[in-house]
Amino acid sequence: MNKIPAAQLAAWLVALSLIAMGLGLMTGSLGWEWGVFWSDPIVQDIRLPRTLGAWLAGALLGLAGALAQGLFRNPLADPYLLGSASGASLGVAIALSLGIWGSASFADMSEAMQWAMRLGLTGMAFVGAWAAVLLTLLLAKGVEHTLRLLLAGVVVGVVLGAITSLLTLISPQTLPAMQSFLLGNTSMLSGQACVLMAVVLLFCAGLSWVFSPLLDGLRLGESTAQSLGLRVLPLRIVLLAVMGLATATAVAQTGLIAFVGLVAPHLVRARFTGRSASLLVLSSLMGGVLLTTADVLARGLWAPQELPVGVLTGVLGGGYLLWRIHSSQIAGSSS
């Protein structure tokens, strides 16, 4: 495919975002309605924050995915590599279980349980995601060896997943709610959530931009990156932290959404090569487009019922990857 310059691709993605968001504003419990009535409180209170929130969450995941693939030099890396997905699930499972047990009396609960209740599902998911990433870093004894990091991430994922399963076994009533979280859901996004995600997105994007030279250097190997004056270790820590923050924020608000973080950088690289800084921003924009589109479909296909948006991203994302593998197998030998 022909490559196009960053600015052009960015313009395309912004246009697509606006179209997707426009469609989002027109899609609701009555399916697709042409024309948006701004005065309608449903549009203002529900559809606007939800559509915007989907875009922001997608942008966070796209950014995190690009960071993951750049830091681990692996095109199959996704933002959930360091165990953040299982950590968030565990946080949610704990919150849900406490919600059941804690119906007795707020005052009776221990300090920890009270904090968990205050944080709510969103807060607990965020804390859980972070805790898992920290655990992975501890297990890997720092960020020096990518292989160790990846393995630690797998271990943490499996162990936390097992604990989560145990919790849902003890309180099986939490199962439907857990499933809702695991499959992703934008229905409860509020204006506040959007503001929060926007702030985090700007912060993460800014930091990523400034420290993106590390990703450029890493494309030539660690020694070369070091020789170019990049302080690999501290920069890696910062970018991993940014990746963790972006992922945790998105997951806390919308649950686990598959494939957006994985596929967005791929789609960008199909049409663009160049500086990592541009790649990060473009992946972010692409992630926004992807999730907004999936969300519109999730709401519109079966209105007024909703498909979990994670199912759609899984199907679409997985399908795209399959197509890529298939077409690269055909083109594979000719080089």
Binding site: P41, I42, L96, G99, Q173, N185, M188
Partner: protein, 218 residues
């Protein structure tokens, strides 16, 4: 019935403990995986899964026969009448203003509503309440919150965990039920009876009618 040993949760029955108790027959839901195993061990099983009140009536009769009660038919009928009495009492407690009031029952976090064809949906209907979820959407559809806002239910029923921040859900502060504080919140123990009542449907009806009475009190 005297106290029985607890042998497990939803689908993880402790097989050894069960066999050791030498039951004459095991009653379980149709979807239990253990059926094949028990039959293989030669233990008689009876699969029961009441999905509607009519089912419950049949189940009572079946259980009476299995328990080898003298005059099983009559005994079952007696228990059934008892349940019906509870339901009747519940119905009578519904105040006039609440008849035909629209209701939204949230079965689980994530917007899973109980439709008319669900068990609890049927109970709500018997109590004279109108479910905002029509029949064709099935038992537990996952609803777009817009739908609930548009339907503007006069009464909302849900369990404690889902009730936190109900009014802060985007766009929900304008719903009649929330404005008029007609929200029935049940602690989780009771919510269990509501969503999976089975033979306790009388209890379920009464729990709801009590709440409706409180909510619609002038």
């Amino acid at each position: 019935m005297k106290a029985l040993p607890k042998l497990g949760g939803l689908d993880d029955t402790q097989l050894e403990a069960l066999v050791r108790l030498k039951p004459d027959v095991v009653l379980l839901a149709k979807s239990a995986r253990i059926i094949a195993r028990l039959e293989g061990l030669g233990i008689p099983v009876l699969a029961l899964e009441p999905q509607t009140p009519a089912d419950v009536k049949r189940v009572l009769q079946t259980v009476a026969i299995v328990l080898q009660l003298p005059d099983a038919q009559a005994q079952a009928e007696q228990v059934w009448q008892g349940i019906q009495l509870q339901v009747g009492q519940a119905q009578s407690r519904i105040p006039l203003q609440a008849i035909n009031a629209s209701v939204y029952f949230e079965a689980s976090t994530g917007g899973y509503a109980a439709g008319e064809v669900s068990f609890i949906g049927d109970i709500l209907r018997q109590l004279g309440l109108k479910n905002i979820v029509p029949k064709d959407m099935g038992a537990f559809p996952q609803l777009n919150p817009e739908f609930v806002v548009r339907a503007n239910p006069q009464l909302i029923v849900l369990a404690q965990p889902m009730a936190t921040n109900l009014a802060q859900r985007p766009g929900w502060s304008g719903i009649a039920a929330i404005k008029n504080k007609r929200v029935c919140v049940f602690p989780f123990g009771q919510a269990d009876i509501l969503v999976r009542p089975g033979p306790r449907l009388g209890e379920a009806a009464q729990l709801i009618s009590d709440c409706v009475l409180r909510s619609f009190a002038p």
